[in-house]
């Protein structure tokens, strides 16, 4: 289906073509006059000639309509159009004047002579009166063609339609041989056939020169009305003329009687017109269906877009009820959206914030390096940034914000915008601090009496007494040590949990006596329990090994690993404590032939409070903290801890410590 603008263009092309056609008709007739070619002058010998003035004026009209086409309306060419229109009017006007005052003003034979005996010509060389009027009308019509006021429109269209009707009447007169139609008043010269056709064509051309702006608009409409008028209106011209002609022919050759012929014409006309209208109705219905389908589709699309906008509304509502502060910024950090929580947390109104950068409102109080780091992460690396920073509310109160900023990437990984989620963690951090202080204080308070017991029992043990009393005191001492270890473990766990630095006091220490001491202590306690197990240092264990470590903590690691090996071994066990060097790392191991750790639980060994299923039956004293703390201690020293284990075969725990002091310092930071 063609669009309205395509149809408009076609109409304009037709208009231009008609202008050229009329121009050519004029030229041809003038040629006819020049070389005295009858068929050019009058079409048929029975018809009146087209006068040379008429032919000249038609040439003017053709030029005028061509020049006044809209595409030339802005150029100088349109002056030619107006001048030509005036020229045609002038010829028409002078001729009318000649008719009125009955004086020959000398224009009739200005171009060519015509004999006074010319057929149906009263004044030789003078055009018919209706022809002269038509020129005046068409001139007016052309002058107003490009004037786009309401009056201009009427003065352009109405004369053209009048001329068209007059020309149609004349043409029909020629077809049906009704001489009154083309003769007009018998005492005047009639309009020539090709003059009438030319008038018809030029009027048509005028009407279609601006199809979008006047009565012909409906012709170029892509609506049903447009297609109806385009299809049916030509039929209004063609059908009666064709049947009229056929009837004329049958009359001429006497095929039927006149009455029979007329009734056949009427019958066939009815059928043809009815069929045309019917066909048109069917086509229109099809178009109507197509249109309603298109409308339905449009309606559906509208509903989808409505539901999308509802979804967006839902998102907004959801984002507004979130307690976290949510902002969306463009690729340069300019805030595009802020949720309600932004107002609640920062005290800035959303309108104050949108269009600004976070640094212009609540942010911008951290070090330059912090922000460089942040932008590098989200813009260059295009990764999520997580950080904690201090921002300021509108009233100047600082608050601690935990921030997550993610870049939103589109095709090709281009950052389109950022989503920032901030949580006010001021209270949580305050609580953390209070908790840490409480734990620190509590541990101090618990450790003070434990120290007193430890030290006084030690003093008592040094003084001479009976053997049995000594035994009691050692029990007190051992119990107290267990209590101290428990407190230490809980304190360590709390330190690890709070994410604070795990305290290590590094000193260069020879580790060998420390390990020997731990082995000796545990062996002594084994013997006191009549246990037949053995703990030995591997033959390759060095005589001296100086490392930069926290002696107490590393002692704790050995103690935990050997304790575990003992606790999860069966009677008459052999445990080996060994050492090897790998690159810059000192690696220690504790190997047993005990229960082993079940495969499906191996991944959880270093979890806090974890105890393997097969251990609880053998030993009930473990807290499940030993390996968790050992891992934290080793990692704090810049080392690693791992193990190899098979159920019912045994377990070997390994841990590494850096030999190189620089590496240790690096890992400390």
């Amino acid at each position: 289906m063609q669009t309205s603008s395509q149809l408009t263009q076609i109409a304009k092309n037709i208009s231009e073509a008609l202008a050229i056609t009329v121009f050519l008709i004029g030229v041809l007739v003038l040629i006819g006059w020049q070389f005295n070619i009858e068929i050019l002058k009058s079409v048929s010998r029975d018809f009146v000639t087209m006068k040379s003035n008429t032919a000249l004026s038609l040439v003017f009209l053709g030029i005028s309509l061509w020049s006044l086409q809209e595409k030339r309306a802005q150029s100088r060419t349109s002056y030619i159009g107006w001048v030509s229109a005036v020229a045609a009017m002038f010829v028409g006007g002078i001729t009318i004047l000649e008719y009125i005052i009955k004086v020959n003003l000398g224009i009739d034979k200005f171009l060519f002579q015509e004999s006074s005996s010319a057929f149906l010509t009263i004044y030789p060389g003078r055009m018919a009166l209706n022809t002269a009027f038509s020129f005046v009308f068409l001139g007016v019509s052309l002058l107003y063609l490009n004037i786009k006021t309401k009056r201009g429109l009427y003065l352009s269209i109405v004369p053209a339609i009048l001329v068209m009707l007059a020309a149609t009447l004349v043409i029909i007169g020629y077809f049906f041989d009704v001489s009154e139609f083309y003769l007009g008043n018998i005492s005047y010269t009639p309009m020539a056939l090709h003059t009438a056709i030319s008038f018809f064509l030029i009027s048509f051309g005028i009407l279609f020169a601006h199809p979008e702006g006047n009565l012909t608009r409906v012709f170029v409409s892509s609506s049903l009305a447009g297609s109806t008028v385009r299809r049916l209106l030509p039929m209004a011209f063609v059908v009666p003329v064709i049947f009229g002609l056929l009837e004329e022919l049958s009359d001429h050759y006497d095929f039927f009687s006149v009455d029979f012929g007329r009734s056949v014409t009427a019958f066939v006309s009815i059928i043809v017109l009815a069929a045309l209208i019917w066909l048109n109705a069917i086509l229109m219905e099809k178009k109507e269906e197509a249109r309603s389908r298109a409308e339905e589709k449009l309606e559906k699309e509208k509903q989808i877009s409505q539901s999308l906008s509802k979804d967006l509304e839902k998102f907004k509502l959801a984002a507004d009820t979130v307690a976290d502060h949510v902002i969306i910024t463009d690729a340069n950090g300019i805030i595009l959206y802020a949720n309600k929580a932004v107002e609640i947390i920062t005290g800035y109104k959303i309108e104050e914030v949108v269009g600004k950068k976070a640094g212009q409102v609540w942010g911008g109080h951290m070090s330059k390096k912090f922000y460089e780091n942040l932008w590098h992460k989200i813009k260059k690396e295009k990764k999520l940034f997580v950080g904690e920073l201090t921002n300021y509310k509108k009233d100047g109160t600082p608050y601690i914000a935990e921030v997550r900023i993610s870049p939103i990437l589109y095709d090709g990984g281009v950052v389109h915008f950022f989503v920032g989620i901030e949580r006010d963690v001021t209270k949580i951090r305050e609580l953390d601090k209070m908790r840490a202080e409480f734990i620190s204080l509590a541990s101090h308070q618990l450790r003070t009496p434990l120290t007193a017991i430890k030290w006084y029992v030690e003093i008592l043990l040094k003084t001479k007494r009976e053997h049995q009393e000594d035994g009691y005191l050692r029990q007190v001492y051992a119990s107290n040590e267990r209590m101290i270890k428990l407190v230490n473990d809980l304190l360590d766990v709390s330190h690890i949990e709070s994410g604070k630095k795990f305290s290590v006091i590094l000193k260069i220490v020879d580790l060998v006596p420390v390990v020997k001491d731990v082995v000796e202590m545990i062996s002594v306690s084994l013997r006191s329990r009549q246990n037949k197990g053995e703990i030995n240092l591997d033959s390759g264990f060095p005589k001296e090994l100086k490392l930069d470590i926290d002696e107490i903590k590393i002692r704790q690691v050995f103690q935990n690993l050997i304790d575990n090996a003992v606790n999860y071994s069966l009677d008459k066990f052999k445990i080996i404590v060994g050492y090897k060097q790998e690159g810059d790392m000192a690696i220690f191991y504790v190997k047993d032939h005990g229960l082993g750790i079940p495969k499906n639980q191996q991944s959880r060994v270093f979890e806090k409070f974890f105890r393997a299923d097969n251990t609880t039956a053998v030993n009930t004293t473990g807290t499940g903290l030993g390996l968790y703390i050992a891992k934290a201690i080793v990692e704090r020293h810049g080392g690693k801890i791992w193990f190899e284990s098979e159920e019912r075969v045994g377990t070997t725990f390994y841990f590494s410590l850096p030999l190189n002091r620089d590496m240790l310092l690096a890992s400390k930071e």
């Binding site: 840490a436 620190s440 030290w455 030690e458 003093i459 230490n488 305290s503 000193k507």
Partner: protein
Amino acid sequence: MKKILIVEDELALLYALASQFSKKQFTVFEAVDGEEGLKKAIDEQPDLILLDLLMPKKDGMSMLKDLRKHPWGKNAKVIILTNLSDAEKVDEALKNGTYDYLVKTDWNITQVIEKVKASLGMK
């Protein structure tokens, strides 16, 4: 004879410690808070100070800092002997030039005295 100053607010611990230093090798001075500790340190100029941290009137860390401002105290030998084991405290103490940092429950008195002797080159 080496002069030792023990600054400790918990009297039970103070007596236990003080009683175990050999009378032949050490002269022991005692103080029960940071204020007294600072005064005695400057008056007696001990070879070593065993310093607790959590104490009334003036805590050990403040006393240490004040001591470092004093011409004599600048280079005084200090071992922290406390039951606080926060990483921050340890770092702060080490930054202020302490010889060692001992958590009381980790050591018995004999070991503490060994550490003191080692630090004074007495072995």
